[in-house]
Amino acid sequence: MRMTKALALMALATLAGTPAWAQKSAAVQSIEEYRAMLQDGNPSELFEAKGEALWKQKRGPKNASLEQCDLGKGPGVFKGVFVELPRYFADTGRVQDMESRLLTCMETLQGFKAAEIAATPFGKGEQNNVTALATWLAAESRDMKLKLPQSHPQEKVFYEVGKRLFFQRGGPHDFSCASCHGQDNTRIRLQDLPNLTKNSGDGVGFAAWPAYRVSNGQMWGMQQRLNDCYRQQRFPYPGFGSDATIALATYLGVNSQGSASVAPAIKR
């Protein structure tokens, strides 16, 4: 069990004592042990259960379930769709990520107003349901490898636009995504920063969201993850499901192609 392993690690660390030379890495090691202790009992499970129920429940003005939603592999297919998004959808003529695609289904199948949900702040009303659905759908692709399609011209264009967005410096601090995520083995405070310009490996970066954030006890989808990155970058507000967020997600996902998704994860 993960917990047991963490405890064993802690016991080892105690036995070995803390040599002076290891002071810096001891702090980092302690943090890693702390994170390992949290793995066993990820509250994202609560959101998974909620998302699964929402998928099957008849809701909205049309009193319909989402069971006929086409997330890229045909109506009703929910296994394995998460690791192939964002992708191009012919019916909307857009490249869409999981969350924007869920809005499309909630509008067409259930009669909700997609624009209204997109304008709702995170953590409120239907946004909570979108997050729960995305969490459950991510869990239905857990441990599968990312394989975002790049065959449609628009998918390629979104990758290229995403790359430009990633390196776009601006705002009062001159930050771009690359300011923090452009090098190997760096941290902000004690938080490890994946290098997102290349494949960051199984369960790292793009392959770890949605995730439960222990700092605020909230479940975050990729949209909220990107949104909060932009907030800390001192950029203006990216619209929910806007092309900028989807292009950026395409860039991150394609860069991590082949890595296994561990979402829903648990994070600081």
């Binding site: 917990m3 405890l7 802690m10 660390a13 702090a27 302690s30 943090i31 042990e33 702390y34 994170r35 202790m37 949290l38 259960a49 909620k50 699964e52 129920a53 099957k56 429940q57 902000i188 405070r189 004690l190 938080q191 222990v214 700092s215 605020n216 006890g217 800390q232 600081r268």
Partner: protein
Amino acid sequence: MHLSRRQALKQTAVVAGLLASTGLFPQYAFAFNKDAFEAKSIADTLKALGASGLSASPDVMLTAPDIAENGAVVPLAVSTTLTGVKRLLVLVEKNPSALIASFNTSDSVESAFSIRAKMGQSSDVYAVAVMNDGKALFAKKEVKVTLGGCGG
């Protein structure tokens, strides 16, 4: 009729809720010990619980991280190999109120519980076994709380 898992769970909940309110669990008609949970210090908490004579014991165990990346969630495990234990407490000395949780021990469960606590700042964390005779035995450990992120 097809029931989703959630709906099924809800119905179970209603039934169990009814059972609870009909007093089928009489031994759990305990009153929440407000004084113990509102006491500031560990000493006052123990007083409110009718315990005294706090002393260290190797038979009380506490597992806690050296450093918590975030004070909002600090995983803590308390246990004891002692017999004659009435309850096991988890306390954080520097929290506004020290008592986090109190577990009533029984023959049906092991005297070992894991829980997660909020910590406002770095502090000593205590596991306390309150014995049937009112004696309190403890183990403690310092947990450092750091700021993990940008601080924005």
